[in-house]
C-alpha cells in the first residue's frame, strides 16, 4: 500500500463515520423528546454531514479517479463503507442516542486534537474546524449523561442499559492497521493508543459522576476497517442513497 492509498483509506474512515452518525442524528428530526432537543440533535447532524462533505471531497481529490464526494457517499455499498460500527447503531431510545454520541464525541475530541498537528495541511485545517464543533457537542452530551444517569430510577436504568449495550462497539475505535502505520510514520495520522488512554480517562470520569457502572465485558465487535458491518448499515444506506441512485442525473 502506498501513501496515496493509505491517505484515501484514512479519509474514508473519518468521513464515513461523520456521514453515518450525521445521518443517524438526522433521523431524530421531528421526533425529539422536546423541541430544544430536536433542534440540538439536528444541529449536530448538520455539523457532521458538513464535516463529512469536506473529508469526502478531499478523499475524492486524493483518489484522483474522477469521483466526487456525492459519488463516494451515494454510490458505495456496505462493504466499501469504512465508518465505525458504533456510528451505525440504531438510535434506540434517547438514552441510547446520547450514549452513542457521548462515546463518539469523546473519541473525536481527542482524535481531532491530535490531528490538528497533522503534517497534511488539509487534514490539520479540517481538524481545527471539527474540534471546535465537537467541543460544543460534547458539553451537551456530557450534560445529558449526568442528567439521565443521576436522574430518576428509570432514566438511570435506561442509560445504564445503553452503556452496557454499546460498550462492545467502543474497543474498535482504537484499532490500527497498515494504514495507520504508514500515516503515523509520515506525521499525518495520530497514534490511537494515545487517544485510547485519554478516552478511557474521560469516559471513566463521566460514568462515575453520572453514577453509572463501567461494563466489565471485554467482548469486542469489530470489522469496520475491512468493511464488515452490522446488519443495520444496509438499511441506513438504502434510505440515504435511494434518491441519488433512482434519479442519477437529478439536480436540486
Amino acid at each position: 500500500m502506498n501513501l496515496q492509498e493509505a491517505k484515501f483509506e484514512y479519509l474514508l474512515r473519518l468521513g464515513d463515520s461523520s456521514l453515518i452518525i450525521g445521518h443517524r442524528l438526522s433521523e431524530w428530526c421531528g421526533h425529539g423528546p422536546i423541541l430544544e432537543e430536536d433542534i440540538a440533535l439536528t444541529n449536530m447532524a448538520l455539523d457532521f454531514v458538513g464535516n463529512a462533505t469536506a473529508l469526502l471531497t478531499y478523499a475524492a481529490q486524493i483518489e484522483a479517479k474522477g469521483r466526487t464526494e456525492d459519488d463516494l457517499a451515494y454510490l458505495r455499498d456496505e462493504r466499501e463503507y469504512r465508518n465505525l460500527l458504533l456510528t451505525e447503531q440504531p438510535n434506540g431510545d434517547f438514552a441510547a442516542t446520547i450514549t452513542r454520541q457521548f462515546f463518539f464525541d469523546a473519541y473525536l475530541f481527542f482524535l481531532y486534537e491530535g490531528l490538528k498537528l497533522s503534517k497534511d495541511e488539509m487534514i490539520a485545517a479540517l481538524a481545527v474546524k471539527a474540534h471546535k464543533e465537537i467541543t460544543y457537542h460534547m458539553q451537551h452530551t456530557t450534560e445529558w449523561m449526568y442528567r439521565l444517569g443521576d436522574g430518576t430510577t428509570e432514566s438511570h436504568q435506561r442509560l445504564q442499559n445503553a452503556v452496557n449495550d454499546l460498550w462492545a462497539y467502543t474497543a474498535e475505535l482504537f484499532d490500527m492497521d497498515e494504514v495507520d502505520a504508514i500515516l503515523i510514520k509520515e506525521g499525518i495520522a495520530t497514534d490511537l493508543n494515545k487517544i485510547k488512554t485519554q478516552w478511557e480517562h474521560c469516559v471513566n470520569e463521566v460514568l462515575t459522576k453520572a453514577t453509572l457502572e463501567k461494563p466489565t465485558t471485554t467482548f469486542k465487535q469489530k470489522g469496520s476497517r475491512e468493511g464488515k458491518h452490522s446488519e443495520h448499515l444496509g438499511f441506513l444506506l438504502a434510505e440515504m442513497q435511494y434518491v441519488y441512485r433512482a434519479y442519477p442525473q437529478v439536480k436540486w
Binding site: 455539523d47 458538513g50 462533505t53 495541511e121 481545527v128 474546524k129 471546535k132 464543533e133
Partner: protein
C-alpha cells in the same frame, strides 16, 4: 470591458452581499469573505464557512456569482478554504452592534478567553431591554451559529450568536 476593476473594488462590491440568515450584516463583516483576486480574466473569491455544515454557503456562492455577473464578470472561481478556521473573534465591533440592534446578542467574549471554558463568563445582556438577568433556554438555536436565551425581566426570548 471589465478590466478597469481592481481587486479592492471587487472586494468592496462583494462586501455588499448580506448574510442570507442574518441580513443585517454582510459577509465581509461576518468574516466569511476572505479574499478577492482579479487578474483581468479570472476572478477568484475565497470564502470560509462559519460551521462545517452551514447551509448558507451555497446561497452565498450563488450571490457572489450573481453580483459579479451583473458587472460583466463571468469567469469566476469560488474557493472554499478551512484554514485558518473561522472564529467569532473576526466579527467586527460595528457588526456586533448591528446584531444587537437586530435582536441577536453578539458573541460575549473572545474565544481565547479561557474562563469561558469553565462556564464562568456567562453574563449576557438582553438585546431588547439590556437587563443582565438572562438565562439559556437551549444550547442550540434556529441556525448552527446561534443558541436560544430568554430575558427574565422583559420576558422576551432572544437569539445569542455563540462563541466559536
Amino acid at each position: 470591458m471589465t478590466t478597469h476593476y481592481s481587486s479592492e473594488q471587487l472586494f468592496k462590491l462583494l462586501s455588499e452581499i448580506p448574510d442570507p440568515e442574518i441580513p443585517v450584516i454582510n459577509i465581509a463583516e461576518l468574516g466569511i469573505l476572505r479574499e478577492v483576486k482579479w487578474n483581468d480574466n479570472l476572478c477568484t473569491v475565497v470564502i470560509t464557512p462559519t460551521y462545517s455544515g452551514c447551509p448558507a454557503m451555497k446561497v452565498i456562492d450563488d450571490d457572489i456569482r450573481t453580483k459579479l455577473n451583473q458587472i460583466g464578470i463571468t469567469n469566476i472561481e469560488v474557493k472554499l478554504v478551512y484554514a485558518p478556521a473561522w472564529t467569532t473573534d473576526w466579527i467586527t465591533d460595528a457588526a456586533k452592534q448591528k446584531l444587537n440592534a437586530y435582536g441577536i446578542a453578539p458573541p460575549a467574549h473572545s474565544t481565547v478567553d479561557k474562563r469561558a471554558l469553565l462556564g464562568k463568563l456567562h453574563e449576557l445582556k438582553c438585546p431588547l431591554c439590556h437587563s443582565k438577568n438572562t438565562e439559556m433556554i437551549s444550547q442550540f438555536g434556529s441556525t448552527a451559529c446561534k443558541a436560544l436565551y430568554r430575558c427574565l425581566d422583559c420576558k422576551e426570548p432572544f437569539d445569542y450568536f455563540k462563541c466559536l
